[in-house]
Structures are given as structure tokens and as C-alpha cells.
């Protein structure tokens, strides 16, 4: 098993509330945090994290990334001082759209009052690397800082890129994740226009009645460290990132390839990378956005890659509880997978009631306990995005007894 990258901290801001543990606990208890077709982070609080001027000078997705990162660093035990050479710490934060609310605000001002209405700070507030840059500045990091913008797979791709930098020996650690706040009326209208948004406002992944995704906002951050670096500072290991598979459909701007060949190859690549067999997978945290085509393609990919084991492994979608966090989704799923394995549970796919004839896997409507022979559990976290982006992450964790 490729075990050189360990997860030492996780943090999340989601529509279910502040904190990664809150996400897992509330989702597992069956609570859905979306209302009227939107998953907004109404309980998001910055607390004392930023000065008044810094609040003015950061956009919402960056603020959410910062809150999630503080939590992740807190449980990684980094304290106030980065425990590594700052040139050997990477910061990779994905987003699908960047500072949407700033672009809208500044554009409104421009339309009303002309060019002089643009605020001097509006450019760094609009760009997609705002979160990665802000985190690098705040913690004094000088290693590679990047912002993948690979649509709904951006958060997972950030995890994959950070892990790759650790594996190559370029860095000792990486702050990785995704953040997104793009739930404005304009964004919703744009997603509705291409027919992807649920008309009923309910996300029902894999259910016969599914009619699209429910848009959400939030952030998820993970602290990744090389196994050696983590051991040197006696860090608590939450999980190991054992496999990474990245492919592209190369098929269509928005729709998945119905054959799901490239998606299946991404799952297969993650398993091969991890050196594990399909039968070793204990849990699948699905992309499961609730679209007709997406859910069918993902089901097909799982069958192709996992064979008969696809029918027995519990599969669940966090989007049924928090909606689709777009560029943050993959990172939030990754940390939800880590925590699910740690606690030995497969949280439920909420709202899954009416089976679709073609979708015949175990979508785990009620949630369940995961059993392990040796205390170790393996989970896959699937992320797919517009443009045919496929990113699959495989985690392995020791289940802690409660």
C-alpha cells in the first residue's frame, strides 16, 4: 500500500454548521441542511479569526477556507508556529468560481457608475487563488501555492496535487482543500438554465425521482504530511491517503460520458496506486449529486471498476445532506470519508426511497456500521466535474472504538 501521505487534521464549514465533526454527526443522524433548494452556511462564523480590515479584504470563500483551515491545523496540533521549513509546506485550495459575490458587486457598481466605481482591491478579491494566497500569507508558507479550478472536482484535485508534492519529496506537508460560495441568484439562474439544478429543490441521489443537484456553499481543509514528517513530530494520524486516480472523460462540457469508462479508470487507478483489490473497499463516498446522467454514470463506473463487489459495498452521498458544494465538494467529501472510516460508519444517502431500475447498488438509505477484520477500513471518495474531470481518492484509517 502506498502509505507515504497521512492526514493529520481536518476542518469544515458546511450548511450543517461549523466543524468537520458536526458535518459527520449531523449527516449520520439524518439531518438535511438544505432549504428551498439551497444549502447556505447560515451558521458560519469567523469569530476573532480576522481583523475588520481583513474581513473587508477577503471574499466569502476565502473566509470559509480560513475557518476550515484553522480547525484542521488545530486538530493537527500545529500550534502557532509552522512545524516545518516554510518552503517545504504547500498550500492548494481549489474552487470552481472564486470571488463570485465580489465580481457581482463590482460589476453592479461598474454598470451604475462607470470605471471609477471599481475598488482597488477588487482584483485580488475576485481571483480564484484568493484562498490559497490568503492562507499562504497568514501562515507564512513559501512552498507551492495553487488553486485548481477543475469545476466540481477542484477540492479533490487540490488534495491530489498536495499529496503529489509530498510523494515527490518536494514538500513535507500540504494544506489542501476546497472552498466555494457561489449561491447567488445569478449563479442559481445560470445552473438552472443548463438544467442541472433540482426543480423540486430536493437532492435525491440515486433515487428514481432525482431531478438534479441542490447548490450549496462551504469549505473543507485537510492537513497532509509525509509519513516521516508526521512521525518525527509524533502527530496523531487520522488516516492515510493511499491511492489517487485522476482521469478525464474528454467527452462533453457538462455531461458525463454515459459509458463512464474514464471515471471507472480513475477508480481503478486509485486502487492500483493503493495496491488494494476491489474487495478491500469498505465504503464509497459517492459524488452522487442527484442528476439523472451523473448518478447513472457513477453507478456504471463503480460496477466496471469494482466488479461484483460494487453490489455489496455501502455507497452514500453527502450531497443528500448538504447539497453540492461545487469546488469545495471534493475536499469536504474527502474529510467526511476520513471521519466515517475513523468512526466505522457509512453515513446514509438521505431521501433515497424509490429505486431506479438501472441503479441497483447499495445506496445505504439508513446508514450502517462498517465491519473490519483487522480494525483497518478503506474508503473511496469520488469526485466528478464539468469537463469530464474525474478524481478518486482512497483513504485507509484505523477505526476507533467508541
Amino acid at each position: 500500500m502506498n502509505d507515504s501521505v497521512v492526514v493529520t487534521g481536518v476542518g469544515a464549514v458546511t450548511p450543517l454548521g461549523m466543524g468537520a465533526d458536526t458535518l459527520l454527526a449531523e449527516w449520520s443522524s439524518g439531518r438535511c441542511a438544505t432549504t428551498d433548494g439551497v444549502g447556505s452556511c447560515d451558521r458560519f462564523e469567523l469569530g476573532e479569526l480576522l481583523s475588520a480590515n481583513d474581513i473587508r479584504r477577503t471574499n466569502r470563500f476565502t473566509q470559509m477556507a480560513l475557518a476550515a483551515c484553522e480547525e484542521a491545523l488545530g486538530n493537527a496540533g500545529w500550534g502557532t508556529c509552522v512545524p516545518f521549513d516554510p518552503y517545504r509546506v504547500a498550500c492548494v485550495v481549489g474552487t470552481g468560481f472564486g470571488g463570485v459575490e465580489i465580481i457581482e458587486r463590482e460589476h453592479d457598481g461598474y454598470c451604475a457608475d462607470g470605471a471609477t466605481a471599481c475598488a482597488p482591491a477588487c482584483i485580488p478579491l475576485m481571483t480564484s487563488n484568493a484562498a490559497a494566497a490568503t492562507l499562504s500569507m497568514r501562515y507564512g508558507l513559501h512552498g507551492p501555492s495553487a488553486a485548481p479550478a477543475s469545476a466540481c472536482a477542484a477540492g479533490a484535485e487540490a488534495v491530489a496535487l498536495g499529496a503529489g508534492l509530498i510523494r515527490s519529496g518536494e514538500v513535507d506537508a500540504a494544506l489542501v482543500g476546497g472552498a466555494e460560495s457561489a449561491i447567488s441568484g445569478f449563479m442559481r439562474a445560470a445552473f438552472a438554465a443548463n438544467g442541472e439544478l433540482s426543480r423540486t429543490g430536493v437532492c435525491r441521489p440515486f433515487d428514481a425521482r432525482r431531478d438534479g443537484f441542490v447548490i450549496g456553499e462551504g469549505a473543507g481543509m485537510l492537513v497532509l504530511e509525509s509519513e516521516e514528517a508526521a512521525r518525527r513530530r509524533a502527530a496523531t494520524e487520522l488516516a492515510r491517503l493511499v491511492g489517487i486516480g485522476v482521469t478525464c472523460d474528454g467527452f462533453h462540457p457538462t455531461a458525463p460520458d454515459p459509458g463512464a469508462e474514464a471515471a471507472a479508470r480513475a477508480i481503478d487507478a486509485a486502487l492500483t496506486d493503493a495496491g488494494i483489490a476491489a474487495e478491500d473497499v469498505d465504503y464509497v463516498n459517492a459524488y452522487g449529486a442527484g442528476g439523472q446522467l451523473d448518478d447513472r454514470a457513477e453507478t456504471r463506473a463503480l460496477k466496471t471498476a469494482l466488479g461484483t463487489h460494487a453490489h455489496t459495498v455501502p455507497i452514500s452521498s453527502a450531497k443528500s445532506a448538504i447539497g453540492h458544494l461545487l469546488g469545495a465538494a471534493g475536499a469536504v467529501q474527502a474529510l467526511a470519508t476520513v471521519l466515517a472510516l475513523r468512526r466505522g460508519i457509512a453515513p446514509p444517502t438521505l431521501g433515497y426511497e424509490v429505486p431506479d431500475e438501472e441503479l441497483d447498488l447499495d445506496y445505504n438509505a439508513d446508514g450502517r456500521t462498517l465491519r473490519s477484520q483487522d480494525g483497518s477500513l478503506v474508503g473511496l471518495s469520488n469526485s466528478f466535474g464539468h469537463g469530464g474531470q474525474n478524481v478518486v481518492l482512497a483513504f485507509e484509517a484505523q477505526a476507533i472504538r467508541r
Binding site: N53, I55, R56, T116, A119
Partner: protein
């Protein structure tokens, strides 16, 4: 232009802008440096934009770099208004 504007008016307005940028009201004094107030180059450009709009006074980046503290900025603006 705007000859009716007094030095006190400009001072009060500059303090108000700094407070809107996040400066604590107690810290908004003539002697404070922009560094002390955590006001960086982007904030100064924004300040200059407001000053231009309200007083018709243009402050360049070179001007901004000459400013030692808040009082210098107020004096420069007042001198240009006159």
C-alpha cells in the same frame, strides 16, 4: 475648488474612512502611521480614490509613499484643495 472645506473637515473625513477600513476609532489620530493602522498600499489607493471623488484632489502612488503618518496625508490633501 471646494475652498469651503476646512482642515478639520478633511481630518474628520479621513478618520471616518480609516475607521470604515477597520481602524479602531481610538487609533485614528494624526500621529498614527499607516503601518500601525494595518493600512497597506491597496487601502491607500482606495483612500486616494475616495479623496479624488470627494475633494477633486489627486494623490499618486508616489505621494502615498512620501506620507509618514495620517497627519501628513491630511496636510497634503488640505494643501492641494487650497
Amino acid at each position: 475648488m471646494n475652498s469651503a472645506v476646512s482642515s478639520k473637515d478633511v481630518e474628520a473625513r479621513i478618520f471616518e474612512i480609516l475607521i470604515s477600513f477597520g481602524t479602531e476609532p481610538d487609533s485614528a489620530v494624526r500621529e498614527a502611521t499607516f503601518d500601525q493602522l494595518d493600512i497597506d498600499s491597496l487601502d491607500l489607493v482606495e483612500l486616494a480614490q475616495i479623496v479624488d471623488e470627494e475633494y477633486g484632489v489627486e494623490l499618486t502612488i508616489d505621494d502615498a509613499q512620501q506620507l509618514q503618518n495620517v497627519g501628513d496625508a491630511i496636510d497634503l490633501i488640505v494643501s492641494r484643495i487650497a
